[in-house]
Symmetry: C2
Subunit: 427 residues, 2 copies
């Protein structure tokens, strides 16, 4: 199906599935190598997932954290971008199977297919407790949060109104903490002057965590600081409580029933079906167990990277599912492919943990770089500058900087739009 | 249902239905009057419709042309914003009926409910030829246009590929002309470096008009200029041809069948059901025939303004359905309400036509201010500055200015996102 005019017929064919941080980095780093590349994604855009919660909470627009994949690779004639859904892999024939019945032949395959949120055997909770992985997830969450305030404004029954003004976030990792902090600020700082019948200050934001502390991946004192900082902006924190039920009207934990109309799932992820495609060994979360050179056992021509794999870091703990880890793996795979094409044997992948950052509120963040730890306002500025730095392209940086400036200085969030339905549909 | 704490019990109750240009202007201009206002809309945002085609063609983000209504009225404690859908009017009891069974009592009612696109008795065309009135319409069109290019990239059959690369716009008013010009530029300037298998320069953009010229509302020489300008960027123009059929695969006009996968409807509108709610006289497009003081015949306490009414201008021709006309009517109604409360009788509404503007391409526009006519690059700059001026708030102005700067200088459109579905769903 692909016309091959742009590539030498003898070029080594690399197919990369997934244009997230890992897949895109591998594509970037293969520049100049004697390969032809096909990058397949079922979305047309690369997404800056670390800021997705800001779209869900109306601080940023969708186009501020997403880029058309084609656009990012417009200067690379040897790269073909394909907007298609992969349905399986024929490893014997070395072909990637697509949803339209077509197949892509490869010499080397890179699987960078990411993860979705997971409900630990409770998939029936998904409609009541949506997660946050795609732009649609974010605009759906934004609609739910804003519609809850709108319905509360029209509700006369005090109990129902209280349920509408109760926002529950399940899972206190970085995403859960950032969502809880931002929703609290929305209710405390942005929305109060807008409503006439409700006092949005009275909205409850409840963060429920099964483990003993928030931000478990950070140092103990930073966790404690994050907890205090969240509580200071009105977030209620419930620790050591696994959720046992989610419905349209409530969440249940430890025998306690909390009435709410808005539950957000930030508690766990499940890898894409890459392991199933290959019939390869995977852990409980569906993540491929790859070899030290990031190839799939028994498939030396198939690499797997990012959230869809599990591999131990130098400290023996699994490499975390964060953007820098996926990028390091993408870079490693590109170098490994180049080394092999030169006849060499690449050294094993070695993860270097650069550090962890999480934003808590408008002027509060925590930074854990191992030896170097920071919290408070300075950490927040570093967090902001680092994230703007990692955005691609001057236009996005300018645009996000302006949006943040407005949130910072005026407490106004421009993206407070309820889309996908009128008031009738949304209720 | 409304708590009344913020308003004097004796205040005259004004209910305004619709937060478009007319309804919002009436609300603004009633500031300081001894009234309590309830502004109802089934969307939570005011939309700057004149730039909606730029969202559909990926130049602007949704949040750059929309504002939460509540936010715009946050400093007006006597105004209650209601996110609700009106289902009817009980004119006898002076109540507006809402979808949740609730009713809003009024002393004066202002209907500013706008219009939707209309298919002249061919509603079956709507799925194949969507129109452009809401943010969702715009993101849906954007998805269709971008997905057509994506599918063409994967299509090997030359005939099917040609159909995917044929974009048909029906109706050559300002919206049709602006859409045709922008899609042509997308194909000619923005997309070429992104694709490997197709040459997007070969995309056809066909503008079909039932009447004898494009931009019929403008002076003859400006129409002729617009036609030449469109043709110079590759738009094919078909005049004097009413469309007789739209399907999933083609559009038919004058016995000619044109294969296409993307049809956009910019040919006609139908007023909201305000006339039906009242059983009041309306024209063929469903527009209420109002009295010279913009009240509905037989209902001196009900005003109707904007696209949902038809009234003759000073030249005898109907007042056009454009934003400045709706705003003038909103302003008039606010002044009329204030005059009546003082015991006066307002003079009849008199429309002043300020002028017409339309953008054709990146450096081309036409301006028809009656005596003052302008076309070309200078007109384009005036068009751009005027539109940025009319946006609400510095943040939106900055943001749109940056987006346009990027389109202008780099031919890059940041909002090229296919959302609401993966490649599988979208096809």
């Amino acid at each position: 199906m692909m016309t091959e005019q742009a590539r030498p017929a003898e070029a080594h064919r690399v197919v990369i599935v997934g244009a997230g941080f890992g897949g895109l980095e591998a594509t970037y780093r293969l520049a100049g190598a004697p390969v032809s590349i096909t990058l397949v994604d079922r979305r047309n855009h690369h997404l800056f997932q670390p800021l997705l919660y800001q779209v869900a909470t109306a601080s940023l627009a969708t186009s501020e954290i997403a880029w058309p994949v084609r656009y990012l690779l417009r200067g690379r004639p040897e790269v073909t971008t394909l907007y298609a859904t992969v349905t399986g892999i024929d490893a014997q024939a070395r072909r990637v199977l697509l949803d339209d019945g077509d197949a892509l032949p490869y010499d080397t395959l890179v699987l960078a297919t990411g993860a979705r949120h997971a409900y630990f055997g409770h998939d029936e909770w998904e409609p009541f407790a949506p997660g946050l992985k795609t732009l649609e997830d974010a605009t759906t969450l934004r609609r739910r949060i804003l519609v809850a305030f709108e319905r509360a404004e029209r509700e006369t029954d005090p109990q129902r109104r209280a349920a509408l003004l109760t926002f529950v976030i399940i899972g206190a990792g970085p995403t859960g903490v950032e969502l809880a902090g931002t929703i609290a600020e929305l209710a405390q700082d942005t929305l109060p002057p807008d409503f006439r019948n409700i006092d949005t200050h009275k909205a409850r934001v409840v963060l429920i965590e099964a483990g003993p502390r928030v931000l478990a991946g950070f140092a103990d004192d930073l966790s404690a600081y994050a907890q205090r900082a969240l509580e200071s902006i009105g977030v209620e924190i419930v620790l050591n409580q696994p959720v046992t039920e989610c419905t349209a009207d409530c969440v249940v934990y430890g025998g306690h029933r909390l009435e709410t109309k808005t539950i957000i799932w930030a508690a766990g992820v499940r890898a894409s079906p890459a392991a199933e495609w290959l019939g390869a060994p995977a852990d409980r979360a569906g993540r491929l167990e790859v070899l030290p050179d990031l190839t799939v056992p028994g498939h030396p021509d198939i690499y797997a990277i990012g959230d869809t794999v599990v591999i131990a870091g130098p400290d023996g703990k699994p490499v975390p599912g964060i953007a820098p880890a996926a990028k390091q793996q993408g870079r490693y795979v590109a170098e490994a492919i180049k080394a092999r094409l030169r006849g060499g044997t690449p050294a094993p992948f070695r993860y270097k943990h650069a550090g962890s950052l999480a934003q808590i509120g408008k002027r509060k963040a925590v930074i854990d770089f191992g030896r170097f730890k920071l919290r408070g306002a300075l950490a927040w500025w570093i967090w902001g500058i680092a994230h703007i730095y990692f955005l691609i392209g001057l236009r996005h940086r300018l645009s996000v900087a302006i949006s943040w400036l407005w949130v910072y200085a005026r407490d106004q969030r421009a993206a407070r739009l309820i889309t996908q339905g009128s008031s009738k549909v949304a209720r």
